[in-house]
Structures are given as C-alpha cells and as structure tokens.
Point group: C2
Chain length 330, copies 2
C-alpha cells in the first residue's frame, strides 16, 4: 500500500506518520511506500519501507506529491483559523485552492485513491447551547470553517464522480497540542493545560463555563487511520463525518489539570481577547455523532486519560524545546 | 442606484434587465446606471438611464463589469446542470471560480454592494419524498449543485467579512423556459409544456408521478428584485434563502396544459433518459420555505396562472423564433 501525506510536517501529520512508520501497515495492508510533503521538508522517521519527503506548497501541488499508485492521500495541509481570518486570500488559496489541487492530482491516477480530509468543527456554528446531530447544517462563522466546508463539497462531488474516494472528518479542537501557542483561535484550549504543566502562565479568553468539543491527538490519529481503511460504500453521496469527540468545559479541564499537578490551575489568568472570542463563540460545544459510531469510529477516552497521555508522550519533548521550568516565587 | 448584472444575456438575465429598464427603479431607489455582461454581448433594452453592455467570461471577470459605485450585483452566470456534469473543469472554472472573481471585484469597491446570487434546488438532495425545512443540509448529488453550494459558502463568508452583502437564492426549476431545450437536466420540465403549445412533441424522462419544485420566471424576477432591496441584517451569518416555489407533479402539469390547449398533452412521450433521471432523481420535490416568507418573498401564483403568463409573454416570441406550427396528421 502506498500513502501520500500532504501537510506531513504539522503536529497531526508527524503523529500520523510516526504511527504508520512504527506499525508498517494501515488496517490489514502492509505499507510499501510513504510520500510526505509540507511547506518545509517534513522529517522522516525510521521505517522498514521507503519514505520520501518533499517541500511544496499545497496551493501549487506538484504531481509527484501524489505519485501514480497512491492508494491513500491524507490531506491535512491548512492555514489555521485565526491566520485564515487575518488573511482571507491566503486562506482561500491554501484551504480551498489547495483542495482543488489535491483533486486534480488524484484525477491523474489510474485508480481513484481514498482521500482523508481534515475538516473542522469550525465549519459549524450554533455556539455554546448547540448539540448538533449528524444532519446539522454547516453555517460557518469564520473563513477557515467556510473554506473547509466548501472543500468538503467539492471532495464529495469528486468522490461521486469517481475521481477519488473522500472521507471528510470534521475534527474537534485537538488538545493538548505540544510546542508553542499557534494561530488557531482554539490555541488557548491547549495552552491552559500545557503552559501550567511547564510552570508557565496561560491566558484564558473565555469564562470557565465555556464548553469546547475536543479530541486527543491519539484519538484523532486513530480516526484518520480508520477513515483511510473503512468501506465508504455505505456512506453514499454524503462523505462528512462528525467523529465522537468530548464536550468539556474549561472548568472541567482546569479540574483535571489540578488533579495531575496540584496548584497548576492558578497559573491560568482570565484575559479578554475579543478577536479569539469572536471566532470560537460560534463553534458548537457538543455533537451527537451517531453516524461515526455506526461507521466504526472509536469512542473517545476520558479527559484524565487524555491528560496523562499528553504528559507521557508530548510533555518531555515540549519541555526540552521550551527550556527549563522557571523558578516560581513561593 | 447603480446595478451590475453578470449573466445578463440568459433567460432570467434578460427578463430581469427588462423589468429594471421598464420600471426605472429597484425598490424605492431610482436607477442611474446599469452595467450588463455575459459571454456574448448582452442586448440592452430601451431605458431612460444609461445601459452599458460588455462581453466577458465570469471566470476572468474584468473589473469594469462591476464598476466603482455599484450598489447591487446580480450574479446569474453559470454553466447549467447537465453541462457541468459533462465537463467538471468547465463547471468548476465558471460556477465556483466565477464566484471567486465576483467576490474579488466587489472587494475593490469603496462600499460593499448587495450581491444577489442564484443558487439552486440542485444543491439539495432528498429526492421525491423530501419536504425540506429551512435547516436542511445541502448534500448535492450533482456537480452544478456542489459548485453552487460551495459558492454560497464563500459569498456568505465574504458577507460576514464585509466585502459584500450577499443573498443566496436557491431557485426552484424555472418553468416555462422559452426558446429551445438547453443542457439543464431540468430542461424537460419546460419542454413538456412549451413544445406541445408549439404543436411539437416532447420527451418525458420520468413518470407522471414525478414531482418537481418549480417557479415561474415572473415570480423569480420578483424574488431577485426583493433580494436586492431587502434589509439583510435580520439574516445574520446565514445568507441562504429557499424561496416559496410550487411542488407540482408531471401529471398536474399535463392536466394544466390540457386545460389551456386540449389534446396538447398527447404530444408528450415517455422516453427513458438515465443521464437526466440520474441527476434530477435526487432533487427534493418540496420545501417548507418559512424563512423566505418571513423575509417578505412573495408566495407563488397557481400553476394555471403560470401557464397563461407563459402563453401571453413568451410563447409568441418562441413561436416566431422556432417557425410555424407543423401541420399535424388528423
């Protein structure tokens, strides 16, 4: 089996590539070749099969990024939410235009590949009181979400036409992201856990009652692999999946943080940020993901397990990258 | 008030321009200038204000098609359903790419114009048993509908950002179209009325039980004018309107035809057309258009009135264009 990962250098891309390299298979199929691309040349982990890495812009995707014989494309490349809000043209070019380039590259192949596309909870609105069913309309209230929803439509149509075979996964907010805060409007949701675990303060732009639809990187990577291997025929024309995330409040997150590191929650300070609040206020806080469960997407682990996995798998590297924990005044 | 009409040479474009030229105002505002464009230079009716006409491709829309000072843009240009199904690239370039060009042209203006966009019932699915509410998801099962739905998303986002102020009207199948059959999959719905009124036979690719969500050109032009003049603020982020069409079966259409021209229905012959049937089978047959009614879109006139209006307003020109009625064997 031959796999292409577009956006392989990002957080999820690296986790996904790590899993593929480690396991050497996808579903029941052994891997023969992995082709990675990102704006900067992505790293290749050790593996028992060839991994090629290339630097390219998804908005001008070269054919070699999805070579002949590709069975599965993971299309993860995107301009994240606050960045797409700050620069409309860049978001359109990468998020919608990039998807058009992926479709064009797939059409050249002799056999239509499975395309796993990471859409987003940001393509919905409804806000804090929403509990969305599988038939909920996507009424995005941010450019990132609009570009993701439009991309879903054209990938779905390309699937119906037999150019490719897409599964559009509307990912929840992924926590806990390692590294530094990024330009996603949801960046604070990871920061209020990660930064205090590093002994650093974090800013909270919403109230403690604010609820977020989240998923762990581990669960997301499992979903991506499942989306790549599932039988898409029962999906029919509708290629959208709302996977089974967790609906958690900031208060629950801070309580979970306290339980793994007492005192850490006191490092979180409430600071107004109208720009961020304006984007995320419309995101729905909960879904009833029946279709995803029916199609075999695994249920989410509890919040405590999510935190412990972050501490074991990602915190050491983040700590090494960010430097020593500061001495706190007692 | 200054108005630009993109796709002004088509059937609806000419009807709309005729109304604007005749009335000399839109809502309560007098018209000062009308700028028309289409792939071929569109005709200009006589008017008491200047009308400029230009030939241009919406996929490469020149800035002059939407000049500085434009208050309202009617964006009607499209590759119709069967044609977009036959040529994916052409549909993408015109239907989605053209909308991107319209947005780019509007962004240059000092004042964001109202953009009235003709989306389509083809952006929905559900088929014969569907009765869709205002919250129905758009799950298009044809490329035309997918490109229209994706265009709606980016126009809606451009509205939220203040680049323009869009109203996306999901038009029913418009009947009765004059002229000749075209490449819309719904072309037969007009043909089974128009052709027998000309003494010609027509092919019916579906059963007489088949129901269609339709609207008259007169009603559509009224809706377009209403969409151009309404206060969009109560719409919020959601710029989509399902206007109040009519749900009618082929049997009801043939009965109405018989009542205006006895014997005419016998000219309609059942002929299988899997390509057309494949596209239109998924289109929903009925809506509950509460939002449109709340926003002041006029209810539809009865089917008999629709037929009589066609006979008065469009049949003479169609007859002149198509030649004399053939002598039928008695």
């Amino acid at each position: 089996m031959q796999i292409a990962v577009i956006g392989a250098g990002g957080f999820l891309g690296r986790k996904l590539v790590g899993k593929l390299a480690r396991e050497g298979r996808l579903g029941t199929q052994p891997l023969a070749r992995l082709v990675l691309s990102d704006l900067s040349r992505p790293p290749a982990p050790p593996a028992r099969f060839p991994i090629e890495c290339r630097a390219c812009d998804v908005a001008a995707l070269p054919e070699e990024a999805i070579p002949q014989g590709t069975d599965v494309v993971f299309h993860l490349a995107a301009i994240v939410s606050a960045a797409a809000e700050a620069d409309f043209d860049l978001g359109m070019r990468v998020n919608l235009g990039g998807t058009e380039r992926v479709i064009a590259a797939c059409r050249r192949l002799s056999h239509p590949p499975r395309v796993v596309f990471t859409s987003s909870v940001a393509s919905f609105s409804g806000g804090q009181n929403a509990v969305l069913g599988d038939d909920a309309r996507q009424i995005p209230a941010n450019s990132y979400g609009a570009q993701k929803a439009a991309s879903e439509l054209i990938l779905q149509d390309a699937s119906r036409r037999g150019f490719l075979d897409a599964v559009n996964l509307r990912l929840p907010t992924v926590i806990v992201r390692p590294g530094r805060p990024n330009r996603a409007a949801s960046s604070f949701v990871s920061a209020i856990i990660r930064e205090p675990l590093l002994g650093l303060s974090a800013e909270l732009p919403v109230s403690e009652d604010f609820a977020v639809w989240v998923a762990s990187p581990r669960r997301v990577i499992d979903w991506l692999a499942h989306a790549a291997a599932l039988d898409s025929r029962p999906m029919g024309v509708d290629r959208g999946i709302n996977p089974p995330g967790l609906s958690v409040s900031v208060r629950e997150m801070l309580a979970a943080l306290e339980s793994v590191k007492p005192g850490a929650a006191s490092l979180v300070r409430r600071v107004e940020d109208p720009e961020v609040a304006g984007i995320i206020a419309s995101w729905p806080a909960a879904f009833v993901p029946e279709r995803a469960s029916r199609l075999g997407f695994a249920a989410h682990e509890p919040l405590g397990e999510l935190l412990r996995a972050f501490i074991e798998e990602d915190l050491p590297a983040t700590r090494a990258e960010r430097g020593p924990e500061p001495v706190r005044p007692s």
